[in-house]
Amino acid sequence: MVSAGDARKITIAQVLVYELRVRDAMSKPPITALPSDSLREIQKLMKRHKISGVPIQLGTKLLGIVTIEDIITALDQGHIDDLAEKRMAQGVITIRDHFSLVRAVAEFERHGFGRFPVVDSADRLVGVLTRGDITNCLMHQLEKRAEEAIAFEAAALASRAGDDLARRIVIRAPVRTGDYDSAGKVSQRLRQVLRERGIDPDVRRRAAIVAYEAETNIIIHSLGGEVTVAVDSDKVVIDATDVGPGIEDVNQAMQEGWSTAGRLPRELGFGAGMGLPNMKKCSDVFEIKSGNGQTTLVHSEVFLRKAASTP
């Protein structure tokens, strides 16, 4: 019995030895010779195909085998021109093509042969198997498995990278009244994110303008608030909220050039009366809710598209 711990120690090569069949490893089709061929002809055949054993076949009947050892003996003893039928080993032991490689290895151990003719279930000769064939097959399969594992890893990595791009990023920052020095912090981060994602520059600028105007509006006009920017796979959602004092006439505030900004912000270049109109113009979805003495809520959506030239 194999415990879980032992099972884990089985290497992939061991698994393959059980999984793979003789037909996966054997050389095919078999290079064969006729019983009427001379040993010299068979020697040439071996040289041409770089093989060390040739089954001797007549029709579909396997008669015997001539190996490189037989050739050496024939050369030594001067009967290289004899016919195969006279010198071949008869009563050849074959191996079945559906045997596992581990069984084939055991057969090699048991008989000490360098090769086996391989026959199918109908006893037809279908190939020749050597120990080298087994090694080659295992190496090839290991390489294939390794490549598959690498490809799987790469695909998993790529898919994780894709998830990162699709992931929702939320930038949330409190915005303080009169904090002109901090204006644009959220907008700056948003620009970075959109640039990293290869978003179309025009879309990036529009979203950044909405975020910037949202920040400055809170700094200039409110008693303090918060800007939240959520970057989704298909849009940027910008929400600005403050704690008051609210906009008395929202329609008036949406008109270009109308501003209630004080002296200091105007000196700094704010208060052009274009903030809200700019936001609306740059948004694909724009909503504003306010009223005298109320909190102001501004909701904007900018739809994303990738830059056309992005690789």
Binding site: A183, G184, P201, R205, I209, Y212, G269, A272, P277
Partner: protein
Amino acid sequence: MKFETNAKLTAVLLAIQATPLTSTSETNVQGCYISDLLSDVLAHAQPGMLWATVQIHRNVVSVAATKDIPAVLFTCGRKPDANVIAEAEEEGITLLVTPLTTYEAAGKLWQAGLHE
């Protein structure tokens, strides 16, 4: 001197006696927008333009970065604080200063060919 619409900034500097406050190598500008109102710049300036203004607050850098404006020209010899210059360097925005008024600078830039 004359220069192409897509002007090398060095040529702009010559035309208006401007000095760079940041590294200016190979910055190109196309056209110019003049405004001291930030939202107006956000609304009407085009990416790639030179922006001339008397505003020297750090929000000028934020607006320029938001709008992909590569270079800002401060007129009337107004120089921003070192931290504003550092921020511009970080954003890759060129800052320039000229002793000329905005009107004089605009006239010379137009004369030099910085118009479409």
